[in-house]
């Protein structure tokens, strides 16, 4: 199943509508943008995967500091190389769409922020997260003291069982009380 044929069938379209949060227009637009990423001969093959480099040329992802993590999280490829099929792409857009629930968004946000994929956000993850947010060059980083103070504050606010890491439930709890999350965790094509 799945297709990258030039036209989406009606059944497939309605199935995607049911399984994602996207509207018909959005799915068609996604299909169009995805096909543009493929070369001519790849377009007629079913189930093609687009490599991560090509996905990252999309303007919506190009300037995003988490772009590689996003690709890794939504990729279902066996080689773990971050390549996305069309259905992965739809899953991505669905999680980032306007009508996605808070639970979905927070679940995927947790996985995106978990840089070492160990299921919890520990100090290393948080430090990488902050550096992604502020910029990678030396003059845009926080000083070590500031970083330590910041990570302590974050853990104090979110780590409930005081084990030094933020797990999924603690993260979801913090997110549920964060007023800006839903409006900022959004990608619209």
């Amino acid at each position: 199943m799945g297709t990258t044929a030039s036209q989406l069938g009606k059944d497939l379209l309605s199935e995607y509508q049911e399984l994602t949060f996207l509207t018909k227009q959005e799915i068609l637009l996604a299909h169009k943008r995805f096909s543009e990423l493929l070369s001519k001969d790849e377009r007629n093959l079913p189930n093609t995967r687009v490599s991560m480099e090509r996905i990252l040329t999309l303007p919506e992802l190009k300037s995003n500091p988490f772009r590689e993590r996003i690709c890794h999280v939504f990729s279902t490829s066996d080689q773990k190389n971050g390549s996305l099929s069309f259905e992965d792409f739809l899953d991505l857009l669905s999680a980032f769409s306007d009508s996605a629930t808070l639970e979905i968004k927070s679940h995927y946000a947790f996985r995106i922020f978990d840089f070492d994929d160990d299921g919890t956000l520990d100090c290393g993850d948080l430090e990488k997260l902050v550096n992604c947010l502020t910029g990678e060059t030396d003059d845009t980083r926080l000083t070590t003291d500031e970083m330590r103070q910041l990570i302590n504050n974050i853990l104090e606010e979110s780590d409930i069982d005081k084990d030094g890491t933020v797990n999924l439930s603690e993260f979801q709890h913090v997110i549920s009380r964060s007023p800006d999350f839903v409006s900022s965790f959004k990608i619209v094509l």
Partner: protein
């Protein structure tokens, strides 16, 4: 949701799959949570499927015994399942779930099947309807573009602007359909208009202000800009509506009553709409209004705007985040420093603050006095009708507007300088300065109106014969309408002029010139608070002015329409994102809060003029009454007595209170936000309507009590849960202690505790895994 610990606490094995902790799943608080989340299948479903993947031998048994009770509940509620798309799984798995559900659905009864499919159909219908509605929204493409370039903070400003356009349009439609439309269609619908009787007294002399003789072109312009001359006797102003009643074939339309009621209606409608809008975006934070406990998490986890598509904007967003984080960390250090202040330092700081606040009050008083003087001068200049020069005349006409604009330009700069010496924490500094600016902006309108009224009610021989100065102001409402009209026009001219003559040159200078001026001035930032104050100021004028100038909402709609495009062009070409970003959530609250303050301040003059000041006898629909309010009691006294008693009962206190209590239950989420601001801001009106005041106070107290009761219940539940958890854990501990010194009998006791040596048993001692259901099962009966 107090059971934080037991909320989906997951562990992962090496492969990164999120699995669950069996011990914590047994906690009573978690079990009751599962029960409460009836329609959520994701928890146990995820667990069961992930366990299947692990291939653990005991997983099946684990499922059956421990989860029998809640799992059966889930099974029986399979028709109330979460929609598949709300599960966090890749597409292939969602498809598998869907086919699985369809198979399960085949086993259901016909009724259940029909219910499921109809629910699915309705959901799709609702999605399509929402999609269609949102495509109808004004300026959708433009706002999306702005969001991509500048983020959600500035986006909220533009969607606020869009809201005001729609609001003004609706207000205009109300006024038009109830006041103007009957007059217009009267000749076509065979209506007989009765005009107000001119009793030929001295009060009802209304000299025409139309220009006679040859009219020079620039006089037309003066008229257009000042609302005088040919514009005065048009539908634009109050004075033109001399109609008393319109007699159609079957019904008599009381225009005076309609005029008054439409005024009350649009004020009320604005209030309800603003409250509803603030409640929508604000439901979550209602009881935890000032949740500063999570500011860091909010900034880090929700800090990045995923909508940003522009590389430049991304770079600026990063630097603004960095700036914000550094500021917050510094603020924390400053707070620590403040807490460590000695007593002597505190005295010194308080003294400085006192002096500076007195200075601020002095500055404000000086500004208000200047506005007062300017208004009086302007009115006298218009009265004496000495024409000096076209430009000078115009300046005299616009003098109050000019003074207000200048004051509103200088005082924020002054305030931002003063606040530096008052030594507050940075966040408080911003808010306090903003509050001062808001106060300045909105009170200046009040001062203008006050000075106008003092002129109007100031006669040579006290007391005034007609209740107002009929010699100078034969139709004072039209005069006030003209002043409001002038304020609106001047406001629009100012915005356009500042954009063209300040912002564009600034961009050119900064871009092409490398001098010190360019470096110091820097590129324009889109300062959201100042811009919001600007449009709230305009909207307040519109609310006040609509009573005197019924077409003002239409003018404001057109004005805001153009302002949208002007601001958008200026933003895209001249501005860079603010270094101190404005959070989207707090901005919504700020915008609507300031708008509510403006509305409350607008209600005050309208109420006073309707209820207290004698309406003019020479023009307008209320000629036959003393004050505009009188039309209401007069009409009621003409109704049949049954209707009268009903209306009196409606306006009595008892009914008002019960009505408010009922509406509180209906509008529950928004009520606290509504009452807090509404109550604070309507203190003025409160003195005029005592019964309204007491019902409102009762309403506020009831609402507050309700909100506190909710919190109390939540906390009580939480406490009970914690107690049960503690008991359960203590039991487990005792069992573990009993079992641990005796290792070998574990194998004998296997039948009692079937193998729970799952892959994550290594994390816990084996004895802890027992097959007992939670001790206190009353939580999930």
């Amino acid at each position: 949701m107090g059971t934080l610990l037991s909320l989906f606490v997951f562990f992962t094995d090496r492969s990164g799959r999120i699995t669950s902790n069996p011990l914590l799943d047994q906690l009573p608080s978690y079990q009751s949570l599962l029960y409460r989340r009836k329609s959520s299948v994701s928890g146990p479903k995820r667990r069961s499927s992930s366990r299947g993947r692990l291939g653990s031998s005991s997983s099946g048994k684990w499922n059956m015994s421990t989860f029998t009770r809640p799992f059966e509940k889930q099974k029986s509620q399979v028709t109330e399942q979460q929609p598949i798309r709300e599960l966090a799984k890749p597409m292939a798995e969602k498809r598998r779930d869907k086919t699985q559900r369809l198979e399960e659905a085949q086993e259901l009864t016909n009724w259940r099947q029909w219910r499921q499919s109809s629910r699915r159909y309705l959901r799709r219908l609702r999605d399509d309807a929402q999609e269609w509605l949102s495509s109808m929204k004004l300026w959708r493409g433009d706002i999306h573009l702005i969001e991509g370039m500048f983020g959600t903070g500035i986006l909220s400003y533009f969607s606020f602007l869009r809201f005001l356009v729609v609001l003004n349009l609706i207000i205009f439609l109300i006024k038009f359909s109830f006041v103007m439309l009957p007059i217009i269609i009267a000749p076509y619908a065979s209506g007989n208009i009765t005009y107000n009787l001119n009793d030929a007294g001295v009060c009802s002399v209304y000299p025409s202000s139309a220009r006679r003789g040859l009219v020079i072109f620039h006089e037309h312009i003066t008229d257009l800009l000042s609302g005088g001359g040919f514009l005065e006797q048009t539908y634009l102003f109050y004075g033109y509506y001399k109609v008393d009643k319109i007699h159609f074939t079957n019904v008599t339309y009381n225009l005076a009553l309609a005029y008054l009621l439409s005024t009350i209606a649009y004020l009320f409608l604005s209030l309800i709409w603003i409250v509803k809008r603030s409640a929508r975006g604000f439901k979550r934070n209602l009881v935890q209004d000032e949740d500063r406990f999570q500011s860091f998490c909010n900034k880090i986890f929700a800090g990045w705007d995923f909508c940003i598509t522009n590389e430049n904007a991304a770079r600026l967003k990063r630097s603004s985040l960095l700036y914000e984080l550094k500021t917050d960390l510094e603020e924390e250090r400053i707070k620590q420093k403040i807490a460590d202040r000695t007593r002597k330092e505190k005295c010194r700081i308080y003294l400085i603050r006192l002096i500076l606040n007195l200075f601020v009050i002095g500055v404000l008083a000086a500004c208000f006095y200047t506005i007062y003087v300017a208004t009086i001068f302007s009115q006298e200049a218009q009265m004496t009708k000495i024409k000096v020069n076209f430009i000078v005349d115009l300046i005299y006409e616009y003098l109050p507007s000019i003074v207000i604009t200048l004051a509103n330009f200088i005082t924020p700069l002054l305030f931002s300088v003063i606040i530096n010496y008052e030594d507050y924490s940075p966040a408080f500094e911003i808010r306090f300065t903003l509050m001062r600016c808001v106060f300045m902006r909105l009170t200046s309108i009040g001062v203008l109106l006050f000075s106008l009224w003092s002129q109007i009610t100031n006669c040579e021989e006290e007391p005034c014969i007609c209740g107002y100065n009929h010699l100078l102001y034969s139709c004072w409402e039209t005069r006030v309408g003209q002043e409001m009209y002038k304020l609106t026009i001047f406001d629009f001219i100012t915005i356009v002029a500042v954009t063209i003559f300040v912002e564009f040159p600034r961009k050119l200078i900064v871009k092409h010139c490398d001098c010190g001026l360019a470096k110091w001035w820097g590129q324009q930032e889109f300062a959201i608070p100042q811009n919001v104050l600007e449009i709230v100021y305009g909207q307040t004028i519109c609310w006040i002015g609509t009573f005197y100038c019924p077409m003002l909402p239409a003018i404001c709609t057109i004005k805001y329409f153009f302002i949208f495009y002007i601001k958008k062009v200026s933003l895209i070409n001249n501005c860079r994102p603010a270094t101190r970003p404005f959070r989207a959530s707090s901005s919504n609250f700020f915008f609507l809060g300031v708008l509510l303050i403006g509305l409350a301040l607008a209600c005050l003059p309208v109420t006073v003029s309707v209820a207290q000041i004698n309406c003019s006898h020479a023009c307008g629909p209320f000629v036959n009454f003393n004050t505009s309010w009188e039309v209401l009691p007069t009409t009621i006294s003409q109704l049949p007595s049954g209707a009268q008693t009903l209306l009196f009962a409606l306006s009595s206190e008892a009914f008002a209170v019960s009505f408010f209590v009922i509406t509180w239950y209906v509008f529950q989420p928004g009520i606290l936000a509504f009452t807090k601001h509404f109550f604070l801001c309507l203190a003025g009106i409160v003195t005029i309507f005592p019964c309204f005041f007491s019902s409102l106070a009762m309403f506020y107290v009831i609402a507050l009590a309700g909100a506190h009761k909710r919190v109390i219940n939540q906390l009580r539940d939480q406490l009970a849960m914690e107690g049960r958890d503690k008991r359960f854990l203590i039991q487990k501990l005792c069992q573990a202690q009993r079992l641990s010194p005796v290792r070998s009998p574990v194998s004998k006791s296997k039948p009692r505790s079937p193998s729970y040596h799952t892959s994550f048993a290594s994390n816990f001692s084996e004895g802890v895994f027992l097959a007992h259901s939670p001790p206190d099962s009353s939580t999930h009966v």
